[in-house]
Assembly symmetry: C2
Homo-oligomer: 311 residues x 2
């Protein structure tokens, strides 16, 4: 029933990918998702090279199923990271936040399946041109870094589907089997789920961050920091401080200097809910429990099937 | 196949509503949509009372099928408008941009089916409490006036569906049968389509506006004017001027004074593409032709059925 271009590409049971999120997606989460029949991704963006190697090794022990690594292309030691991925025999890489032309050919020469994450049709076509095997198109409702066009998933997916020849994975605003089916109606063949896995038991995010997220209501995240790079975050004290600084007409350098470098780690990994940055998607408005990654995959699969029958 | 709570409520063949948009939705468009089996709405927001009466009378002559009128609750002569609607025997009213508690009871006492348009769960529940018969929940990707929470349709619909007891119509980002099916997967029982009808043959918008819209690519609309009231508009010269004024830290009064009062009419009705305000949704990125309202309804219905079979 779920067999399609995406399950064949990754050799998974379900076309459900867990987003490789910073401070959230260690080997425990990736292995749990892969063991449940989805594709788990280790998020390398918040790991030093040695730490990434350790997570890959532990993931190989924790699952016999396929898993992958997400690499933000702006990662400072990217060459080292890529060498580790090749040495450790990782078979699937998702690249994001950067130019897919830089590393796709090299990764593919080394037998790695490459998927690139984009927020617009324009970059989806560039990724295809760079030779990637599939594209994740992620809409405005997604947590964390986001596109300048502010195209929502509902608009983005059919727009990309119309022109793209390679398989398409939808992301942004997807946390349920219903939303997954909606994306399949629009032409996607897989979904990438971030926020719901970010608050799973196996997520390495701080427990206070998870508790905060499941209490959020609608409208409690906002896309901001467009002056630097658009990010969807929780409207906490840090967010209010950013809004105030902008009202005082502070410039980009002043904003950057106020933010400093460790805000994400503070918020998501150390649980400083006031001063840390808390990246999460709009679907946080209806997430209401901390559950296992396996329960999430199973629930999405069941709801997908039930909804298909109802339609 | 399409018979459900929405088609029963409106007594239409299809659960497809044409948005009652200012400067766009006169009797020609409303009658054409109703004749095609959808629900056509006259947009009273840009009409003086006498003009609205004329459109209602002409609409009654142009179709034997049910049609309705959209009333923005902030309309200055709203009492007069509502009297005309009752006198002329209009059976369906969509209210928007205001408090549904003000007029719902009175309209319903006069035998009118009332639907309220909202952009958040909070206001959906308020509308239900006010006694409306159904709710339109409209996401961030929609053209024109929009919610402060910036909730996208994909996130908004399941969030509203989970709590709302009355029928739900999805709006924002919907211009195809695929998107309609996606909304049904999320729990909506009807869709309201704006942008695609705004560029239909029967739309009263200026031909140059229609031509401009079908040439737009992704990212060429933006939600702005949040300082006054959030509006999604085309990024034309007027938009650039607004952005510049904000960079110069002009305040709300200065912005309002720059905008003046006739920007929408200039843009959408008179075809001043540079200095007029051009309201349209994100789906403009893939609208590529001016077609009849009947062709739009038929295409959506066919695509809905085909997509359902494909899934």
């Amino acid at each position: 029933m779920f067999s399609n271009s995406i399950t064949k590409l990754f050799n998974t049971e379900y076309p459900i990918v867990q987003g490789g999120m910073v401070w959230v997606s260690g080997y425990k989460l990736a292995a749990a998702v892969s063991n449940a029949g989805g594709l788990g991704l280790i998020g390398s963006g918040s790991m030093y090279p040695d730490m990434l190697r350790e997570h890959i090794c532990k993931c190989k022990k924790a699952t016999q199923k396929p898993f992958g690594v997400n690499i933000p292309m702006l990662y400072p030691n990217i060459e080292e990271i890529i060498q580790i991925i090749i040495e450790e025999g990782v078979k699937i890489v998702f690249t994001s936040a950067g130019n897919p032309a830089l590393w796709t050919a090299y990764l593919k020469e080394n037998g790695i399946t490459v998927v690139h994450v984009v927020s617009s049709l324009k970059f989806a076509l560039k990724a295809q041109e760079a030779g990637v095997d599939a594209v994740v198109a992620e809409g405005f409702e997604a947590g964390g870094h986001n596109g300048r066009e502010e195209t929502t998933t509902l608009t983005l997916i059919p727009m990309v589907k119309e022109k793209l020849k390679i398989p398409l994975i939808a992301a942004g605003g997807i946390s349920s089997g219903k939303a997954m089916l909606a994306m399949f109606a629009l032409g996607a063949e897989g979904v990438q789920v971030g926020s719901r896995f970010a608050v799973s038991k196996e997520s390495s995010a701080h427990i206070d961050f998870k508790k905060k997220v499941i209490e959020l209501k609608e409208g409690e995240t906002m896309l901001d920091l467009k002056e630097i790079a658009p990010v969807r975050m929780v409207k906490n004290e840090l967010y209010e401080a950013i809004v105030s600084l902008k009202k005082e007409h502070k410039n980009v350098d002043e904003l950057k200097s106020f933010l400093g470098k460790r805000r994400l780690k503070r918020g998501m990994f150390e649980g400083d809910l006031k001063n840390g940055m808390l990246e999460i998607g709009q679907v946080s408005g209806f997430l209401d429990k901390i559950e296992s990654a396996e329960a999430i995959v199973k629930d999405m699969v069941c709801e997908f099937i039930e909804t298909k029958k109802r339609l």
